[in-house]
């Protein structure tokens, strides 16, 4: 057990695209930068595995990661921020060791997680998040010869499905709950950005465009010990598809928990930022999905702006501010096009589990006025995931606001929370 104390000018939470861009910008301004990330390698969810070389990666990802390595920012990998013990300080944990990091400015580039919505059978082995299954495939789960149905919503579904095909999987269908009209209108709005359309066309060519269905969503899955099939519907017709995996994600939820712990103002589930990416807390900035789901180009631009302003060098990035605003408009159109249809609120049955940590069913949650009350009385959201999954689901299903965020952000070994002197005492006593 060891304890480390660090000081830095700019601390960046998250080493995805936004965090990487922020770190590079702050270094360029001559600041000492520390980046904390809970994965073993930088890149975040979207560039996961890009450094290992085992997976096809865009040239852009490689370029950004190389610039990041050359920037001189100090990266603390496999490290999680667990709480904020005092002013301008976070406590992080790395393999059971405590690291207290003091900062002058902080950039929250904490990214997003998938929104998982409950439907009958969604807890069966074989049913996974779309990004979740992709991450497992990158980590070595073999998909060759497996039948993978992709469902949910959002532009990432196509990218994920194409990746599964490249891994040797059969993808019988990609089902987006958004209507054909909504998706077509959004695609048409991208005519000014042909590279995105080309990318989409490439994915469609990989999975075969006739397998991409719009206005379809999962009704339930069948299987005893493991997944056997999924029943899809478009509201009037249903179709049952045999599969080994259902990769199902309903777009993304910003990871706001650290921002909330630091008392940054939150609105519509995202950390509020001004045009300089500054939050309601003066020396805390945010960039990327944590500030609202907007995709990769937005994350890079916002990261650069946040890093520069956090370093007191906002004049270096003034040229980016207009681009930021334009990209936010695209993001708003995207989020509108892929908004969730109300039929999804009717999917859970009485015995469908909502909280997987604590085995709380949909029926048990009826009759409560909000998340706080339901949590206290049913244990919904009290488990180790701290309500990250069920809280986001209930926000959509019942309109419940998330309960107040309580530290630690992740389960943490008690010894990490002890003062240094107490570690020594403990060891002495054990050795006597």
């Amino acid at each position: 057990m060891a304890e480390t104390r660090l000081h830095c000018d700019v601390l960046v939470a998250g080493a995805g695209p936004a965090g990487i861009a922020a770190a590079i910008a702050a270094r360029r301004a001559g600041k000492q930068v520390v980046v904390v990330d809970d994965n073993p390698h930088p890149g975040g969810q979207i560039w996961r595995g890009s450094m290992s070389g085992a997976h096809s990666t865009s040239a852009a990802a490689r370029k950004w990661l190389q610039r990041f390595r050359a920037s001189g920012a100090e990266l603390l990998s496999s490290t999680r921020i667990v709480t904020a013990p005092g002013a301008n300080t976070v406590l992080a944990e790395h393999e059971g060791n405590a690291i207290h990091i003091h900062y002058d400015a902080l950039v929250l580039a904490t990214g997003a997680r998938e929104l998982l919505l409950p439907f009958p059978g969604w807890t069966l082995p074989g049913v996974m998040g779309a990004g979740g299954l992709q991450a497992m495939a990158k980590a070595g789960l073999p998909l060759r010869g497996k039948r993978v149905v992709v469902a949910g919503t959002g532009p990432l579904l196509l990218a994920v499905a194409a990746a599964f095909v490249h891994e040797g999987a059969t993808v019988p269908g990609v089902f987006d709950q958004a209507s054909r009209e909504n998706i077509t209108a959004f695609a048409a709005s991208l005519l000014t950005r042909p590279s995105l359309l080309m990318q989409g066309a490439g994915y469609l060519a990989t999975i075969k465009s006739w397998r991409y269905r719009q206005g379809w969503w999962p009704l339930c899955v069948h299987g005893e010990a493991t997944l056997q099939s999924v029943v899809m519907t478009n509201g009037s017709d249903t179709v049952e598809i045999a599969c080994d995996y259902l990769a199902c994600g309903f777009h993304l939820v910003p990871n706001i928990e650290l921002g909330a712990l630091l008392h940054c103002r939150i609105q519509n589930g995202a950390i509020i930022a001004n045009e300089h990416q500054q939050t309601s807390v003066a020396n805390v900035f945010t960039a990327g999905e944590a500030a609202g789901i907007a995709g990769l180009p937005q994350a890079l631009v916002e990261g650069e702006i946040a890093g520069a302003y956090a370093a007191g060098a906002g004049n270096q990035v003034r040229h980016l501010l207009r681009r930021r605003t334009a990209l936010r408009k695209v993001a708003a159109r995207m989020n509108h096009a892929y908004r969730l249809r109300p039929e999804l609120r009717a999917l859970p049955q009485a015995d469908t589990l909502i909280c997987r940590c604590e085995d709380v069913s949909w029926q048990q949650l009826q009759g409560f006025s909000g998340m706080r009350s339901a949590k206290i009385h049913t244990r919904c959201g009290m488990g180790p995931c701290q309500g990250r999954i069920c809280g986001a689901a209930m926000q959509f299903l019942a309109g419940w606001e998330a309960d107040t965020h309580r530290p630690p952000l992740y389960p943490v070994q008690l010894s990490t929370l002890l003062p240094l002197a107490a570690h020594d005492t403990t060891h002495l006593e054990e050795s006597i």
């Binding site: 013990p85 005092g86 530290p407 403990t426």
Partner: protein, 370 residues
């Protein structure tokens, strides 16, 4: 007149009062800003314990514990009521003397209590640090999940005819309870059972907020079997000023461990005070080193309503003849909720209660304080 009694606050104390008064045939309303049991009731530990800071405290906690035994059959599984016993731990010979004194007092008052040698202590709780002197086992103490009990009591109140009302109370007095938004309830009696929040309605109450911290672990079934409290807790709980921490562990039926405790006056912010949390956890590992390796999944705070004489305020408020108090329970609100309701109900009915109400009457608290 809309009601005989309007109970302000649906924590465990208010819910117990509403149930008792409704069962006695009164027309009762139970008002809270939220569902039952979400305030200090949910923030605290849920330890049902006999305490002996004063004869009046011993009488109240002992009587109330007997009422818990009677309530047991109507509790739901969600209430997680278990008679784990309290194991008071003596760290040294001086505290062992305190064990003997406490045992004699408890036994004289009909409370089962057993002095425990060090060897027996480690049989009962193998994870405790070696070198303790022994302890006192109070086998009939228990633990409970208090918000679930508040909910059961609120439902009992409603079954007996009480009306639940959701709203924020902005003012009480002169037979009127004002709600945010302009509504007003008229009643013969107002029962203020709003814990530390009561002082917002009655600023002259002799109540101070006393902040506490708790942490809860992941599931480690069987690691701790009794509610464990250091005897030094008495010094901590009863010191009038200053921040203090004490070793206090509660095994939940899930296998999780609740780790406490801290006491702090003058802290207004509800956030976790990390330095105090560190002290509290360090104290816990001094008594049980193996805790250091456990996973902590949540930490939080709550506010106790503390009175100068360490006794709750039960009965008529001297400044307004329509206002009655059921507040000021400090850390014993779960234990003494049921006795509070019984005393208040007897008082309203003009009957003698099982134990005298006099020590808890607000008038007497003021006299003692003056």
């Amino acid at each position: 007149m809309d009601f005989d009694s309007v109970v302000v606050g649906a924590g465990i104390v208010g819910s117990a009062c509403a149930a008792e008064l409704a069962r006695a045939g009164m027309k009762v309303a139970l008002v809270d800003i939220a569902d039952p049991g979400l305030g200090a009731t949910a923030a605290g530990m849920g330890h049902i314990v006999v305490m002996d800071d004063s004869p009046a405290q011993l009488a109240l906690t002992h009587y109330s514990r007997q009422l818990w035994d009677a309530l047991e059959t109507s509790l739901t599984p969600a209430c997680e009521y278990r008679r784990t016993g309290t194991l008071w731990i003596a760290a040294d010979e001086e505290e062992m003397q305190e064990v003997l004194r406490k045992r004699a007092l408890y036994t004289d008052n009909g409370v089962a209590a057993e002095a425990i040698t060090a060897d027996r202590l480690y049989e009962l709780e193998p994870s405790l640090r070696r070198g303790m002197s022994g302890g006192l086992l109070v086998p009939d103490d228990g633990v409970v999940y208090a918000p679930a009990v508040a909910r059961v009591l609120a439902m009992q109140a409603c079954d007996a005819g009480a009306v639940p009302i959701t709203g924020k109370v902005t003012a009480v007095g002169d037979g009127r309870v004002q709600l945010e938004g302009g509504a007003e309830l008229r009643t013969r009696r107002i029962v203020v059972a709003a814990g530390e929040w009561s002082t917002r309605l009655l600023p002259d109450l002799p109540i101070r907020r006393r902040k506490g911290h708790l942490a809860i672990t992941d599931r480690y079934p069987g690691m701790v079997r009794h509610q464990l409290v250091e005897l030094g807790y008495l010094k901590s709980a009863h010191s009038i000023s200053g921040d203090s921490v004490a070793f206090n562990i509660q095994p939940r039926s899930t296998g999780q461990l609740l780790i406490g405790s801290s006491r702090q006056y003058g802290a207004e912010d509800s956030g976790v005070d990390f330095a105090l949390m560190q002290r509290m956890l360090a104290r816990a590992t001094e008594y049980m080193p193996a805790l250091a390796d456990l996973s902590i999944i949540r930490m939080w705070t709550g506010f106790r309503a503390a009175t100068p004489n360490k006794l709750p305020l039960i009965g008529p408020w001297t400044a307004d003849e329509t206002v009655f108090l059921a507040t000021g329970h400090e850390g014993l609100g779960i234990t003494t909720s049921l006795a509070t309701a019984a005393l208040l109900s007897s008082y309203f009915a003009g009957r003698d209660s099982t134990i005298p109400i006099a020590p808890y009457l607000p008038a007497n608290a003021e006299a003692a304080h003056a």
